[in-house]
Symmetry: C2
Subunit: 262 residues, 2 copies
Amino acid sequence: MDFKTKLDKAISKSSSLLCVGLDPDPQKLKKSESQFQFNKIIIEATAAFVCAYKPNIGFYEAVGLTGLEDLKNTIFFLKKNYPLIPVILDAKRADIGNTTLSLAEAIFDFYQADAVTANPYMGFDSLEPFLKRRDRGVIVLCHTSNPSSADFQELSVNGQPLYIKVAQKVVQWNKKYKNLLMVVGATNPTQIKRIRRVAGDMTFLVPGIGVQSGNLEKICQNGLLKNGRGLVISASRSIIYAQDPAMEAQNLKNEINKYRQG
Amino acid sequence: MDFKTKLDKAISKSSSLLCVGLDPDPQKLKKSESQFQFNKIIIEATAAFVCAYKPNIGFYEAVGLTGLEDLKNTIFFLKKNYPLIPVILDAKRADIGNTTLSLAEAIFDFYQADAVTANPYMGFDSLEPFLKRRDRGVIVLCHTSNPSSADFQELSVNGQPLYIKVAQKVVQWNKKYKNLLMVVGATNPTQIKRIRRVAGDMTFLVPGIGVQSGNLEKICQNGLLKNGRGLVISASRSIIYAQDPAMEAQNLKNEINKYRQG
């Protein structure tokens, strides 16, 4: 089953567009607790309310090899116990083609992620080895949620901002590979409208809800498809460090669904 | 000692601008040979001829945790036996600031690299946690060596290509942090001239010599500073898989030096 089909089924089963970011900061964990143990508790509390999980590899790399083992164990735990929930490895990669081939092996074969986030700056051939894995998803950064995203993404290229040029290319590549999605940060409610116009019914991964204070209502108004899909809305810190992650996830799921029926 | 000082001393000591990319493709290794063992032989053969080593993390990640242990062992072997040769970890990263902080811990503290390559697409705050590590180098992708680099890097922004906008920003950031360098692929001999004009005496890391067929003579003519420095020229496959890596490295060092005296 390819990534998009898996994601679509998970959205149907959970009635949710919520993705939880599994980003355990070692400094916020109890001393005796591993990142895997932390994740297991979060997963068991939130699995009923999500359509995807998204570990960011950086939080595991910071701990070294034991962290990366915890990442692997987390994904394997998900595959075994929640096989219908897709796993997006947030890695924001791309390199010359010869190297991206190795990155694809790492992300899709060793970690067994269903999808990866990727950076467009180096262009098509830097992503192609990801794209050729047609059963996996490739989620290209278009307009990110961080304050400095405007430094380059908003630069005007012949009257259109760079992020629109990126969106156009991603749409073009998707005609052949059909496994592309885009990252559009929740802090960009105006931009998501423009990107939606370019991207047809492509699904956007939307980080930046919660701690980064994205505007959920506007994002949904401007980004959702008529069928109430087309967005996967990701929250990490606001859920995984909540007093009650289950309740936080359920509330966010319900809040998003309110706008889906709007 | 900061990265630039360390690099400068290594250039003086070796009389070389050559950097060897330690990118052992597992499929090209003997069955019983680990990536670390392969690297050790390459390092011992080439250390006299290089000013830096540059492992690309992708080749190690592809092997999983044992690969990353080999990466760590490779860098520790260098630190112990060749402490004057700086190590650039080629990882092409950047993420929202909170995550880049974790990436900096991984790259600079766990792997103990002296410098990292980074991707500019997400803008300043996605790099800032790297930059704040002022003793380490941050080498930002400007114009890369792969064929599709033109997809976005050559787009015209108010009459100037995007890669020049990136170069301008990097120069601006460097006024404060003083630890920035740029990646300029050897396949871009014309573009390096324009980037040099913007970048003053900033050092460029130049991959793409060898298998990617960059034009060494033109790159040196257009990129070298008057003092015969300002470039670190990286070759990987053409050296590490050569019959005689020592001779290959020495020859390339000498060829580069011919143009330095030109």
